[in-house]
Symmetry: C2
Subunit: 112 residues, 2 copies
DNA sequence: AGGTTAATTAACTTTTTGGTTTATTGCAGC
DNA sequence: GCTGCAATAAACCAAAAAGTTAATTAACCT
């Protein structure tokens, strides 16, 4: 799966977004991350694996704990992607202008 | 499903993102949207339904055609959501600062 | 060594997703 | 009123997602 798709699908789950929000406040262990949820520990462990495979978190090892840390790059990837569409909600999407902008934009970037 | 989750999961598919990119250039019919893909028409029709249910597109009726139009609100929803994490990739994520910022932020907004 | 805690793995279930093919609806134009 | 084209609906299938419980690994502690 392409990076943007895996980032977006990782973030499409509210549990995982809550984990991300928690990690924005600093590192945390698996049990700490699992505490707020009415869900088994293996379920949270799986969510973490999804986030890790998407590159959104990384994990260290400290004795028997695996502290999780938020990683910036994939979030930036999404921010960059969505930036292309900012015109739509700022200038009340004049379609002809957008079309011309888009043509220009496509000359030097991908179409993802 | 909450709005942010359905928006993100709708966008987690490269075919659907390509459709969005195409619609940024202006309205298009289902057949026009389907043309670039090596995929049956019903498959594209389903993708459009996913986008529509997420509010990312709306559809008019013009004789036998259903022109699709890009809608701004859900995209803005994502941009707003991700904005909270901008500190992570701009100022090289000093974790203590982020933590304090986050605490402030949580006092007046949700946790999604 | 034995027990406890942190976390993952395994095996399994259910639901959702993304695609197919075939059939159906709705409109246009001769 | 047929024929043809745009689009959706129906029925089906395979694979992936999200959860469960039970078992396992790994590290610490006394």
């Amino acid at each position: 799966m392409d990076p943007l798709s895996s980032t977006l699908s990782a973030l499409a789950d509210p549990t995982r977004r809550a984990i991300i929000a928690r990690l924005a406040a600093g590192e945390a262990t698996v049990n700490e991350l699992a505490a707020p949820f009415d869900m088994s520990l293996p379920a949270v462990s799986k969510h973490l694996k999804v986030l890790e495979r998407a590159g959104l978190i990384s994990r260290g090892r400290n004795a028997q704990w695996r502290p999780c840390r938020l990683e910036a790059a994939p979030l930036k990837g999404i921010a960059d992607w969505i930036e292309r569409y900012r015109d739509f909600w700022t200038h009340g999407f004049d379609r002809l202008d957008s079309y011309l902008d888009e043509l220009q934009r496509n000359e030097k970037s991908d179409h993802e």
